[in-house]
């Protein structure tokens, strides 16, 4: 049975969106308190996406600052077609991907992509046992997972984060990254398959009892 939102829930959302639009208008008009409130509300979430994409604190901080500088300078161009969070997310993602491109990480990733990603779908996959959590709940595994996420090419990682970790829709992710919905799907599938292969490899090592020996 579908959950029907209660009146209180709808009213509360409506109230939030009205108060945010007042804050935005005040911030555009130079109200420092309103600007601070918007920065406070979204800075943690924007830092999280910046860190996930840049993979180090220093670059994540640069992305964070640039994103909010852009927000303060260009807030009057925000049309309210999406939420402010989605708008900021798009700005942060573009700033981050621009920085990565400058560092030529994108080119390196593209080379990686050619080598690794073409073979992913041809891998044979065995069924995974029940109670997987126990096998993956180790420090080694957390390291393996972080490494796998780090190795994902930036444009694949961005899609995976938006869709599977942040829960954005395909349409929203496409808008944020300014790519087609079809592209979101292709990148997401490749990212999922790559991560699955890495987990499968980890699982094999654990089952053979030779984790970390080779």
């Amino acid at each position: 049975m579908k959950h029907k939102p209660s009146c209180n829930c709808i009213l509360s959302k409506l109230k939030d969106s009205v108060s945010e639009s007042v804050l935005i208008t005040n911030a555009i008009n130079g109200d420092k308190l309103a600007q601070s409130k918007l920065v406070s509300t979204y800075s943690s979430r924007i830092y999280a996406i910046a860190f996930r994409l840049m993979k180090n604190e220093e670059d994540a901080e640069d992305v964070l600052q640039e994103t909010f500088i852009i927000m303060l300078n260009k807030l009057d161009t925000f049309k309210g077609k999406s939420t402010l969070y989605t708008w900021l997310y798009r700005v942060a993602t573009n700033v981050a991907l621009g920085k990565l491109r400058k560092k030529k990480k994108i080119d390196e990733s593209a080379a990686f992509n050619k080598i690794e990603f073409e073979n992913i779908s041809s891998l044979e996959m065995a069924d995974w046992p029940d109670h997987l959590e126990e096998k993956f709940d180790t420090e080694e595994f957390q390291e393996c997972l972080k490494k796998a996420m780090d190795e994902l090419p930036d444009h694949y990682r961005a899609v995976f984060i938006l869709r599977d970790l942040e829960g954005h829709s395909t349409r929203n992710s496409a808008k944020i990254l300014e790519i087609t919905e079809a592209n979101v799907k292709v990148r997401l599938m490749r990212a999922r398959l790559y991560l699955r292969d890495q987990l499968a490899y980890h699982l094999k090592c654990v089952e053979r009892g030779n984790y970390g020996r080779s």
């Binding site: 920065v39 800075s43 860190f51 996930r52 994540a60 069924d127 959590e133 957390q142 395909t170």
Partner: protein, 78 residues
């Protein structure tokens, strides 16, 4: 609560690269129940997403980073 139908539909949509409607999702779900290869394929993708979500990927903004952000914006922290 996890909506398994939505999850399956999402995986099939991305796997097939196009939006598929509810009836076809149901048809594919029936096929997956009987076809071991497809079942393994979809199950392991579902588990991958679940496992990665449990990973330690939350990055809280450090206090000094937040402080420098407000300084750079010439704003006072609330």
């Amino acid at each position: 609560m996890v909506d398994h139908n939505k999850e399956l539909s999402d995986i099939l949509n991305t796997k097939l690269g196009e939006d598929i409607d509810g009836d076809i999702v149901q048809e594919l779900a029936n096929h997956i129940k009987q076809c071991q290869d497809c079942k393994v394929d979809v199950d392991t993708i579902q588990q991958t997403i679940k496992i990665v979500r449990t990973g330690d990927f939350e990055y809280l903004i450090p206090k000094n980073v937040s402080k420098r952000l407000f300084q750079a914006l010439n704003l006072e922290k609330e």
